[in-house]
């Protein structure tokens, strides 16, 4: 982005997450650092188990309590330290400041309540000052380009398609007016056409509301068309980070190069796909 380098909204330094199970210690993430500014999109990419989700969950204490899980390092939201906050203080950060949208809308939504009830619940919890909760619900649903918000508010999750469920999840996140949206694989379970609609929607929201987005994904296509910065993770460590164009077109790390090389691309039919192993062996 070519704007003035404003003060970062979120400053993460040397964040680490360790899980303790009996006598076994697993380092899920270590040495994770990044800045996130208002209106900016940071993509975190990596394979399953690379630690890309766990560091974003650590920001608002969404991990098991100590001693099962230890979070180290620092994460400052507008200068205020998040790591080590009490549960009460974290509740005021969750939703209100940092909201989450997860991969599977079908499992994130409660099947026995209608959509309107679930959004209203989030509003009541995170924005108790709102008087007209029903109006806030309808506003949120229309912000995600749902044509008939009143009908969707009365619908149960099973009555909606996957794309509509994900819109409802995003509406729920927006209803709390967050500064940062963590989108953890928001389109992995969706068809490409629906994926495009959801990503277009997120792009518009980031532009209109200057919302910062932490996008966790393994889809490099989405990264290159959507993110300002990229962070590549492997085995809990950041192997490379930088502006999207730089990382995508001239990756410095062989692992990043391998990850990009092994994706089949439309219109570039090769006899054989490059594997990560080929690429790592070559370097």
């Amino acid at each position: 982005m070519t704007e003035m380098p404003s003060e970062p909204l979120l400053q993460v330094r040397d964040l680490g997450v360790t899980f303790q199970s009996g006598s076994r210690t697993t380092v899920a993430a270590t040495g994770v650092s990044f800045d996130l500014r208002a209106g900016e999109v940071l993509a975190v990419v990596g394979e399953s188990g690379s630690g890309k989700s766990v560091s974003s969950l650590a920001l608002t204490g969404l991990l098991p309590p100590s001693p099962a899980c230890e979070v180290t390092g620092s994460a400052r939201l507008e200068g205020r330290e998040l790591i080590g906050l009490t549960e009460d203080a974290l509740t005021r950060v969750r939703g209100r400041r940092i909201a989450y949208v997860f991969q599977e809308p079908g499992t994130s939504l409660n099947p026995v309540y209608d959509i309107g009830f679930q959004i209203a619940e989030a509003v009541r919890l995170h924005r108790p000052e709102v008087r007209d909760v029903d109006a806030a619900v309808l506003t949120a649903l229309s912000e995600v380009r749902i044509d008939d918000p009143a009908r969707v508010a009365r619908s149960y999750p099973h009555e909606l398609s996957g794309g509509m469920q994900q819109r409802a999840m995003i509406a729920m996140a927006l209803a709390c007016g967050p500064d940062i949206l963590v989108a953890d694989e928001p389109t992995t379970a969706l068809d490409v056409t629906i994926q495009k609609e959801i990503m277009d929607l997120l792009a518009r929201l980031r532009a209109e509301k200057r919302m910062a987005i932490l996008l966790i994904t393994h889809n490099f296509g989405i990264v290159s068309s959507f993110a300002d910065h990229v962070q590549v993770m492997r085995n809990g460590r950041v192997v490379e980070q930088g502006p999207t164009a730089q990382v995508m077109h001239s990756p410095r790390d062989p692992y990043t190069r391998g990850l990009i090389a092994c994706i089949p691309r439309l219109g570039q039919k090769r006899r054989r796909l490059t594997t990560l192993r080929d690429e790592l062996r070559a370097s």
Partner: protein
Amino acid sequence: MNPSTPPLLEVRDLAVHYPVRAPWFFMPTPGPKKAVDGVSFSVPRGQTVGVVGESGSGKSTTGKAVIRLAPVTRGAILYDGVDLTGLGSADFHPYRKRIQMIFQDPYNSLNPRTDVFGILSEPLEIHFPAMSRSEREARCEQLLRSVQLTGDDLRKHPHEFSGGQRQRIGIARALAVQPELIICDEPVSALDVSVQAEVVNLLQDLQESLGLTYLFIGHDLAVIEHVSDHVLVMNAGRIVEQGPPETILRDPREEYTRRLLEAVPKF
């Protein structure tokens, strides 16, 4: 395609309709759900036909109908010249050996309580009852090696493997009975991109060495383009267009295919 040799599989006007029950007994019964409605294509021996489409397009149901995992309402499924739809279950039995299937979710398609030997030897017990246990064991070890696992893995259980390794076990199970046609139902959709590349390469190597024929169902257009000799684009139970990937996925004639292609993020 070579017109002189008949295709291994020929599907003519296939339809799979599911009856829909009325929500209450006094309401009129709605019309059937037409999951697949009038689909025709053929799969030449040794080639790969790719099927793409969105969820609900009927692509998986088409694959399942071929091996009787979905009920055929209308149409013919000619396998090596024989119409499978007219066969009784005893007559169909040999085709269960000749046609195998690989499923999308490597976590749910393997029995968690059986070790790898049990998983691989079950199809052998059914289709090769004369095989002794030691012969089965030797065959299972050889199968594991063919999917780049080792004989030591025979005594392990599914939870001890990664997603990619489990998909390899699924492939080994399909190969166990020496099939001719394998229906690959989104075999790499649940895998990381790095693992996806390895499994796709493995499937192509096996096709070459064993002369396999694939009906490859997927939603990733780039993967389908990579593996296919011929592509079917499906929407709402029908084939929108079909042809070689170079024309279908580069210069589509149909608006629907164009929209699918445009939705793929470029980089």
